[in-house]
Amino acid sequence: MDDRELLIRYRDGDLPDEEMAGVEERLRSEPELRARWESLEGIATLLQQGAARSFDPFFAARVVARLRKSDSSAPVEGMYEALRWIFARVAVACVVVMLALGAYSALEGGYGGSMVDSVMGLPEATLETALALGG
């Protein structure tokens, strides 16, 4: 334990009686230790004097207002989370259905000429069929 730690313990009264007496004796006989003690006490006093003891006025009212504001926004956040949950699952289901239909169409292969037409389930498109559709 160095002298500074010893002085802090002495200041706390956190030393056995004989060590307390030993420090007091040293403080009387050692000017350097005495100066260090006064320095420690001086800084401890300044720290106490400079300590904030409150925030700006009406702090408690601001805390309660913020608390109530966050409480009132909680149901909205809950609904947002629920919608996100539902949309994510609906999106996955749509993708699965589309893949299944695509696979079915590709395996059947009875519609269009190209692979894309088959996957999409599109009939073969020719100029004649387009004109026929147009009337």
Partner: protein
């Protein structure tokens, strides 16, 4: 901090749990001085300290159901305040770490002592010591704030920070040494 004739912390906690805003407001007013000393000691005064102070009590409110009274409410709320302050300092450090070397804040310093002066210079000294505290490394600053400003014992500080008592003492000794040195340097300079 409890005023004579006022409700105990436990009574106010029970009422606050039941949704009584007035009771929670009383708790905030009762523990504001301790939280302000801790948060402003750690972060300096300003909007950031106000925000962390508010967040401290909001966290307290949300954890009232879990508060079992193993420690005093004062110690409990101080633990929240010091942890939020350390988190805020970490965020701040991300911005300044490129410009200030950690070695500079942690290096060994030669012995120094500082002579406190008379009343005329007191305010200036208070300002200088506050600035010196803000230059301490966060873990040293936390010990100084809890031990020297809030007045917690070494054992209580050890519980709040979750570190051994010997570490509290060694950090405090080093921090006080640095403060003495900075006070002396600024006086000489």
């Amino acid at each position: 901090m409890e005023r004579p004739g006022s409700s105990s912390d436990q009574v106010l906690i029970d009422r606050a749990r039941a949704g009584d805003d007035r009771a929670f407001r009383d708790l905030v007013e009762r523990h504001e001085p301790r939280v302000a000393a801790t948060v402003v000691g750690m972060l300096g005064s300003g909007d950031e300290a106000e925000d962390v102070g508010q967040e401290t009590f909001i966290r307290l409110y949300r954890s009232l159901d879990r508060f079992r009274g193993e420690s005093s409410l004062g110690t409990y709320v101080t633990r929240i305040a010091i942890n939020l302050s350390l988190t805020a300092l970490k965020k701040r450090k991300r911005w300044i770490s490129r410009f200030v070397s950690q070695d500079e804040t942690e290096r060994d310093l030669p012995e120094a002592s500082w002579d406190p002066r008379g009343e005329l210079e007191r305010k200036e000294d208070v300002r200088r010591v506050r600035e010196a505290v803000e230059r301490l490394a966060p873990n040293h600053r936390a010990v100084v704030v809890l031990r020297m400003i809030d007045g917690y014992s070494t054992r209580e500080t050890s519980e709040i920070l979750g570190i051994p008592g010997g570490t509290v003492m060694s950090r405090l000794a080093r921090a006080m040494e640095r403060l003495e040195r900075e006070m002396k340097e600024s006086e000489d300079g």
